[in-house]
Amino acid sequence: MNAPRGGVVLAWAVALAAVSPYAQSAYAVEAAPIDSQGQLTNPALQLRYESIIKELRCLVCQNESIADSNVELAADLRRQVREMLIAGKSDKVIFSFMTDRYGEFVRFAPPLTAKTALIWGAPFFMLLLGGAIVYRVARQRSRMPLDE
């Protein structure tokens, strides 16, 4: 009786593992070979490399990051990031290298500046607007007689 139950538990464990964040990192490992050079030898650099290329937009297929894209330009840009990391460049220098050439659009999360304030502020503005509307409607209703 214990054996089939153990089987069920195992099946659940496998199913959960498949949707867990660990499984996603397994996908990332699978996707890595598009870089012919393989992983960077320094694990800290490799981590920074992965986070930077996820933050940079592939300009050919504009909704993919250069980490996800197999386009040649994405490969060239990954090589560029890699070389700059090995040369000891900071994340800031690498991002400004990219935005100097391709514009702010190359970054998925553009920095907060006067020009991008609207994008960053819009969700909060919408929230305030929605809250104000709800507040007004609720107040009006509360003034209505109950039996009507």
Binding site: L59, L73, D76, Y102
Partner: protein
């Protein structure tokens, strides 16, 4: 008063947004170049037709020129090629080619079969010059003024009409200003 004004204001705002956003003439994939007004990135590459000959834009300092990014795999480049040939016949400015992510033999073949509108064609072996210029496709065409600054970038195939409307006024302005 507010009950009337607010919806009207919202309506006007949406009309303005749609007029811009849904404009069929606007290429939503075309990105503004951050290079405009900045010094043109330097390059020193070899000529696609002759690997022993160098092509560098330092040699063009002091004159207005056009840099046209193309490749033999690029279908829209074939589409603009006739127009480029005609434009080069008018001898207004030197047209420099930048052969992008290409194979030298195929590029040579292209120029021999279709004609060569370029005063020189730089062969960008590893795409580094293209990255410096912010190239993300082909064809792309840049206009550089006599002070060596990029003053205009055009994405998508050039036609005679585009040349007359977008390039000529800027070339004339750059020349009278310099």
């Amino acid at each position: 008063m507010w009950k009337f004004l607010l919806p009207v204001a919202a309506f006007v705002a949406i009309v303005v947004l749609f007029a811009f956003g849904l404009d069929p003439k606007r290429d939503i994939r075309a990105l503004p170049s951050p290079l405009i007004g900045k010094p043109a990135p330097q390059f020193a590459l070899t000529d696609v037709l002759d690997a022993s000959r160098g092509v560098s834009n330092a040699a063009l300092q002091g004159q207005v020129y056009v840099l046209n990014v193309w490749a033999s795999w690029c279908l829209p480049c074939r589409q603009e090629h006739q127009a480029l040939l005609a434009i080069s016949q008018q001898h207004v400015v030197p047209i420099i080619g930048l052969d992008y992510m290409d194979e030298r033999e195929k590029a040579k073949q292209w120029l021999e079969q279709l004609g060569n509108p370029y005063s020189a064609v730089a062969y960008d072996t590893d795409g580094r010059t293209a990255i410096d210029w912010g190239v993300y496709g082909a064809p792309e065409t840049y206009l550089v003024d006599a002070k060596g600054r990029v003053i205009f970038k055009f994405i998508s195939p050039i036609t005679q009409e585009v040349w007359d409307k977008e390039f000529m006024p800027r070339i004339n302005a750059a020349r009278s200003g310099a």
